[in-house]
């Protein structure tokens, strides 16, 4: 039959794409693994040979390691809570019939189109600047002492900036989910005697659980790797050094490629632990 023939033809046709993808993924991975077992200092002698697990032990025993893991998880957790919480709120608001709905929706989505570097710079210079930022003017207007956001409340600031970027994504996904809720279900609950908040709790929220799961998974994957926002604001100072940022510092600032690569492998492991953990919690939501 033609199927046998077309199947091998299909394999042939797909081969370039598959090889390209594999190479794209495997080459960096293998290079990272290789470097992680070497002492490799590009400006101080280059490749100095195999060192076994020394890089791995040095990376975790460094005093910066555990704080960086904590910082990473704190940022991811904070941003998830804020984007999902406000995302649900905004989605409910945007689902109400109102004047200028189309324009408001576009405005809500807009932050997603701003590059991370740009938005972080805008926040840093226009909002959070202790002398000229909008927020400091606001504080002074109410007679309060302006806050130097990025040094005194560095973690809060980063979480705010990143949340602002990811809120549109969460809102958009949750809005489409809310729109698919059968209005008769809400009316049935209303007749069954459920007031507004209970209707939200017992009908809307369970309906959104799948969308929330998706937001949670996708955002976690991207948030574990945020970099630009930290680079242009605090530069990793004031307790905002995440694992990604620590690796960057080891490789580029300390010029220790081997140590950084070992860190990269840890990052892969951390990401997988978080992913498995999340899948466990929310996985049953997805196949329900």
């Amino acid at each position: 039959m033609a199927t046998q023939h077309s199947r091998s033809a299909a394999r042939l046709m797909m081969a370039p794409a598959v090889i390209l993808l594999l190479g794209w993924m495997l080459v960096p991975l293998i290079m990272t693994l290789t470097f992680s077992f070497k002492k490799y200092l590009p400006l101080r002698g280059g490749d100095l040979g195999w060192v076994g697990f020394e890089n791995y032990t040095r990376f975790v025993t460094s005093s910066a390691f555990w704080p960086s893991v904590v910082a990473t998880l704190a940022i991811v957790g904070g941003v998830l809570v804020i984007t999902i919480g406000f995302g649900i709120l905004l989605a409910i608001l945007l689902n109400q019939p109102m004047w200028g709905q189309g324009i408001v929706r576009i405005l809500v989505i807009a932050p997603f189109f701003v590059m991370p570097t740009v938005s972080a710079l805008v926040w840093k210079n226009m909002f959070m600047d202790p002398t000229n930022g909008l927020l400091s003017h606001l504080w002074r207007f109410f007679g309060a002492e302006p806050v130097s956001w990025l040094s005194e409340a560095s973690m809060t600031s980063i979480v705010m900036i990143v949340s602002w970027q990811w809120l549109p994504f969460a809102t958009l996904i949750l809005l489409t989910a809310i729109q698919s809720l059968d209005s008769e279900q809400l009316e049935a609950a209303e007749m069954d005697g459920a007031p507004t908040f209970k209707r939200f709790l017992y009908i809307t929220l369970p309906h959104l659980s799948r969308a929330i799961t998706i937001v949670l998974l996708i955002q976690t994957i991207f948030l574990l790797a945020i970099f630009a926002e930290i680079f242009v604001t605090t530069g990793g100072a004031f307790g905002t050094r995440t694992l990604t940022y620590l690796i960057f510092q080891r490789v580029l600032e300390a010029q220790n490629v081997g140590l950084g690569s070992a860190g990269g492998v840890y990052a892969i492991i951390l990401a997988n632990i978080v992913a498995i953990f999340l899948m466990r919690i929310v996985g049953k939501n997805l196949d329900a």
């Binding site: 059968d182 279900q185 049935a188 209303e190 007749m191 069954d192 005697g193 459920a194 017992y202 369970p206």
Partner: protein
Amino acid sequence: MGQIKLNQVTKSFGDVNVIPPLDLTIEDGEFTVFVGPSGCGKSTLLRLIAGLEDISSGQIQIDGQDATNVPPAKRGLAMVFQSYALYPHMSVRKNIAFPMKMAGIDEAEQNRRIESAAKALNLTDYLDRRPGQLSGGQRQRVAIGRAIVREPAAFLFDEPLSNLDAALRVGMRLEISELHKRLKTTMIYVTHDQVEAMTMADKIVVLRAGNIEQVGSPLDLYHNPRNEFVAGFIGSPKMNLVTGAEAQKHGATTVGIRPEHIDVSTTEGTWKGRVGVAEHLGSDTFLHIHDTGLADLVTVRINGDIQVSHGDDIYLTPQLDKLHKFGADGLRIN
């Protein structure tokens, strides 16, 4: 108790007036059916009674109390929706328990009512399933169960059988009628299917474009339709409506004769026509007659069978005492 009274109730959506001023009283314990073509405002009227829509003007009374501004949950009415509107993430048991949980009824009483409703509706084996794992008929029963446990003053049904297949529909029709006989609670039932209306109702309300055309018992509407619309809408197959010279002979603008009130002969009769399609149901035969010069198509209902073929000449004789006469304004002339 469950008497529902509408006084001069109107409803407009923006500029569109869906329900013109309307008066209606539904007595306690009555099975009332709202029937009418699609888009005539049946659902809107039901939702006004339920409180899911605000009325534009007028007054709604439930058991003599003004309920116009009472929120839906406080009206003591239970509704069964066309889409069933079950809560998909809850088990059947939780679905049925939901209104009781909202009302703060204690656990033991909840369980007692769930068990008895499940038994009455044949749902005992399905209590731990989700609605998605049930058939259409079972979902329908869960929706009814959720309504029953509230022990409401009245049940509101919005085309509850329209998503079921024909055989199930007949079965559920009987079950709902049986339920009404047992509970003796007021029920308002919306349908576009006049067969459901005829078979279930104590009282039928025929609606057209938001207006009540006639209110009466099924047989009252069948024998004494107040106007041409009701005459054409109630009864299956439809009444034959004849205009022109033949109607003038009887002193009317339009005369109507039901298919079962026409005698058929192959040799002689008042009207001559040509046999078209014959629908054999076994117990009855519906003959569609062409070229009578009266109407495009005259339908005749014959008990049992008749030996005629397509294209044969045939003679029809209406039973004159069963003739319905309507004037130029469409109203019945007696």
